[in-house]
């Protein structure tokens, strides 16, 4: 089996968001780009599995939808331990068009376990993985917090409201993964960085597709008014404020 890890190229999570004049676009100048944190955990787990199941897993491929500026992020994924990379040469517009491009490449892969982070840290839409699975007509399991290959079977733990479930699924499947699948993302080793330069990175043309959702306007959220400080010796004041002023207890 081959594992495909979908990678979203996103601004570093500590980025301050600025807008271009008119507030219709985010201003990305000076932004540091990273692998979407959940995708990085997915990749980490894929590498761990391949190391532990040499016979079962042939290859780990990372795939992204983006223009050439997304390549450093793909190279980083190769440095962490992916075997090869695919970039679909289309600027991502919305979750739908991204999923369509991924599906076009992955539809011919029948012996594939596809991993996608639950959300991306930019648009937080929780959409691409599920859309991709539906376009591929493949099973999906969402909110996956652990993944194992046991006797050739894919065994996952999924979080449900108020608990968790252990589930087996078939190949191909799309697993939409969250934290827990791995805890600490792997960082590239020196050797990894060296070999990443020569690992295959294939660029494929995208297909025509129209977005279904468009952003009209960005706004900064309202600032909180200043914090009211309370004497630690006077917890009663806090209780009184929460009860009478904020009315939350």
């Amino acid at each position: 089996m081959n594992i495909f890890v979908c990678i979203s190229n996103v601004p570093d999570t500590t980025t301050r968001i600025k807008y271009k004049p008119g507030n219709k676009e985010v201003d990305y100048t000076g932004v540091q780009w990273i692998i979407n944190p959940w995708d990085e955990l997915a990749l980490t787990r894929a590498i761990e599995l391949k190391e532990a199941n040499q016979a079962a897993i042939q290859k780990i491929t990372v795939i992204t939808v983006g223009k050439a500026d997304a390549e450093p992020t793909l190279r980083k994924a190769l440095a962490i331990g992916a075997d090869d990379a695919i970039r679909v040469d289309v600027a991502p517009e919305d979750a739908y068009t991204t999923a369509v491009q991924l599906a076009e490449v992955l539809k011919s892969e029948k012996d594939a376990l596809i991993l996608s982070g639950v959300e991306s840290s930019d648009f937080n839409s929780w959409s691409v993985g599920g859309m991709l699975a539906e376009l591929l007509d493949a099973p999906s399991v969402s909110a996956v917090s652990s993944l194992n290959i046991e006797a050739g079977n894919v065994v996952v733990t999924r979080e449900i409201e108020g608990g968790k479930q252990t589930i087996t699924t078939t190949i191909p499947s799309v697993l939409i993964v969250q934290k827990g699948i791995a805890i600490i993302p792997r960082i590239p080793s020196m050797r990894g960085i060296m070999t990443a330069r020569t690992k295959p990175l294939k660029v494929v043309q995208g297909i025509a597709s129209q977005p279904m959702v468009k952003v009209l306007d960005y706004q900064a959220p309202a600032q909180k008014s200043s914090c009211r400080m309370i004497d630690p010796e006077n917890i009663e004041e806090l209780i009184d404020l929460l009860h009478r002023e904020a009315r939350v207890i």
Binding site: T13, T14, T15, I17, P37, Y96, S121, D122, N124, S125, W126, S127, V128, G129, G130, M131, A133, E134, L135, P139, S140, V141, S142, A143, E159, I160, E161, G162, G163, K164, Q165, T166, I167, T168, T170, S173, I176, Q178, K179, I183, V213, V215, L216, D217, Y218, A220, P221, K224, C227, R228, D231, P232, I235, E236, L238, I239, L242, A246, V248, I249
Partner: protein, 319 residues
């Protein structure tokens, strides 16, 4: 044309979030001058279904079978009813289940999808919704340009409205197909308030100094009927289970009251709590960034402050 709202019973009962979704559907349907259909999958008592009338449910479809959850199977059931009822707006909870189904459903219906929308649409023609992006760092107005729309609604953003409808209830069998996924076992956390349903959350950070110090925090949570949570370093260290981790890569919460105890307030943590109505922070560092996000703050060491808080809240609750 109609509006279809899918709500999830838990152990045969509906929670507040479902009432908010029904109210929301009622308001959207009335703005569009369309019929509202509520879809419920699972065995639910007639009385419980009737109670949805209070929130404006006029037509309820109940697939009264306990069908094991599977993304594809549930997508199939919901999309069939959406087509049958000619729904042009389909609304789900932004719950774990809603998030799993909505993207598949959108593709199956050829619909545009907007997830975690805040409150009612800003406009119906064109169809414009408000939501957050960049983990709460920005607000976005989005237009869904397709004829059919699928939405997931963020909890506590639209509120509950009261009505007095007597719903017509249709009990139907699903034509659920066998699923490709198989549930091997289910583990349910019992006797705890769930993070996503909690009105109050008591959360601890590294300032708690170690897992052995969680007793008073749990006590405070119990007094307040609150859920317990933690920051990322705490779950990474294994002091608390991962499902308690609140923040960008953990859970995003929206309670009425959030206690941040010994949490410095890294931007990733703030991303997870920015939708809380009121935030109380306790930290020994007066410069901690958590105070810029908090409404009420106490500078002090938790070892001495937390027991005092627990005592004071206990007295308040007893009075």
């Amino acid at each position: 044309m109609s509006v279809l709202v899918y709500i999830e019973p838990r152990e045969g009962k509906f929670k507040k979030y479902s009432f908010e979704l029904v109210s929301y559907g009622q308001r959207v349907a009335s703005a569009l001058d369309q019929l509202l259909h509520i879809l419920v999958i699972g065995k639910v008592a007639r009385e419980e279904l009737n109670s949805l009338g209070q929130y404006g449910a006029t037509n309820i479809i109940n697939v009264s079978e306990d069908i094991p959850f599977d993304d594809q199977v549930f997508t199939g059931i919901i999309s069939n009813f959406a087509k049958q009822k000619e729904a042009n707006v389909v609304v789900l909870a932004h719950s774990l289940t809603g998030r799993a189904i909505a993207p598949r459903l959108a593709i199956r219906l050829g619909a545009g999808l907007s997830t975690a929308v805040n409150g009612l649409p800003a406009s119906y023609k064109p169809f414009i919704v408000n939501k957050k992006a960049f983990s709460g760092k920005t607000l976005v107005q989005q237009e869904i340009t397709t004829e059919v729309k699928v939405l997931t609604l963020s909890q506590n953003t639209a509120g509950i409205t009261e009505h007095s409808a007597s719903p017509v209830i249709e009990e139907i069998n699903s034509d659920a197909v066998a699923s490709a996924t198989k549930v091997v076992s289910t583990e349910v956390i019992t006797g705890k308030v769930l993070l996503n349903e909690a009105e109050i959350i008591v959360s601890g950070g590294r300032g708690m100094r170690g897992p052995e110090n969680w007793k008073p925090l749990e006590e405070l949570a119990q007094i307040l009927g609150a859920a317990t949570a933690c920051s990322r370093p705490v779950s990474d260290e294994g002091w608390r289970p991962h499902h308690e981790h609140v923040g960008q890569t953990g859970k995003v919460v929206a309670p009425s009251l959030y206690f941040a105890l010994g949490i410095s307030g890294a931007i990733q943590h703030l991303a997870g709590i920015s939708s809380s109505k009121v935030i109380v922070a306790v930290n020994k560092d007066p410069e901690a960034p958590i105070f810029s996000a908090a409404d009420y703050g106490i500078v002090g060491d938790l070892q001495s402050v937390l027991p005092k808080m627990t005592e004071a809240f206990r007295k308040f609750k007893a009075s």
